[in-house]
């Protein structure tokens, strides 16, 4: 049987050592959540809120927010990739892959619920109430996905949920302001906290 060459074994050992050191020095079980990406997502959400204006039943308004959601997903994925690469590309698949998968397991189902509920709200002529629905479900996603992450992630989720609940109670025409406060303001604030304290 062929033995691994010394150089190969040495490289493996080095990678293992780096991974182990980072894991012991790391600040949480899942730190690949991109802080600066969150800030950028917040800024694009503020632009979408300003551009879209108060919620109405037009395809234009819903389209602007679906476009914003798409942009946010691209930023989030790019941010996670860049952040995990900075922490060591070789580590992503093995050591942090499982937590990332666990995060997605909790994060994605509430988002799917949001995608399903959006046309239902539209058919019931309740498009103006979508901001509360989106904020509440996005908050649920962050709270459940981040349950095993650094404490700030579920805290962000709970803040989104509180804002979504408030949006349901407030006049419907304030919806875009709640979206700006949530997807804009909360993303910027929590993104900044994550960036400052959890490696970017």
């Amino acid at each position: 049987m062929a033995q691994p060459s010394p150089i190969h074994a040495h490289a493996l050992e080095d990678i293992r050592y780096i991974r182990d050191t980072m894991s012991r020095a790391g600040t949480g079980p899942f730190t690949a959540i991109p802080g600066w990406g969150g800030v950028l997502m917040g800024l694009t959400a503020l632009a979408a809120a300003a551009f879209g204006g108060p919620p109405d039943s037009s395809v234009r308004w819903t389209g602007i927010w679906f476009g914003e959601a798409f942009v946010a997903v691209v930023i989030a994925l790019a941010g996670m990739t860049i952040k995990s690469r900075r922490a060591g590309a070789a580590l992503w698949t093995s050591s942090t892959g499982a937590p990332a998968f666990r995060f997605a397991l909790g994060f994605v189902p509430p988002l799917i619920a949001g995608i399903v509920l959006t046309p239902v709200f539209a058919m019931l002529d309740a498009t103006a109430r979508l901001p509360g629905c989106w904020l509440l479900l996005y908050g649920t996603a962050a709270a459940t996905g981040g349950a095993y992450s650094v404490r700030v992630v579920p805290l962000m989720g709970l803040s989104f949920m509180a804002l979504g609940t408030a949006a349901f109670a407030a006049p419907a025409e304030w919806g875009h302001m709640f979206l700006a406060a949530g997807f804009g303001g909360l993303h910027i604030v929590f993104g900044f906290i994550i960036a400052r304290n959890y490696g970017g």
Binding site: I7, A11, Y17, M22, A25, G26, R86, A87, A90
Partner: protein, 120 residues
């Protein structure tokens, strides 16, 4: 088909030879290659900053050893050292510079290339 296999074998052989001749770990960034210095840079890559004592505990080393290796990294501009006081107690903190992060990324990329090239 056989031709493709032979071509692949030749490619792998050439890559292995390149790795052995030009990119052995010892010919990489010697500064990062040393175990304790690699540990310092790795720990700082996932933390905004770490104190001298945090690093000492994490890397299970002595004051003298950590000082010497941290100074080498400082001299290479891979890390920055901030000295201050916490109350009346002196506190030394280290941060990774952009150059240090690039060096770690490059080192990791080389390690991955070695593993990939010597696997086949």
């Amino acid at each position: 088909m056989a031709r493709t296999g032979a071509a692949r074998k030749s490619e792998v052989r050439s890559l292995k030879s390149e790795v052995r001749s030009q990119k052995s770990p010892l010919e990489l960034d010697r500064l990062i290659h040393e175990r304790l210095r690699l540990g310092i840079v790795s720990a700082l890559a996932v933390n905004e900053r770490l104190s001298f004592n945090d690093l000492k505990d994490l890397l299970q080393t002595t004051d003298g050893n950590l000082s010497v290796h941290a100074r080498k990294l400082e001299e290479a501009d891979y890390i920055l050292c901030d000295k201050g006081f916490e109350g009346r107690v002196p506190r030394t903190e280290y941060r990774l510079t952009a150059a240090g992060r690039r060096a770690l990324e490059k080192y990791l990329a080389h390690m991955e290339a070695i593993i990939k090239a010597t696997k086949g």
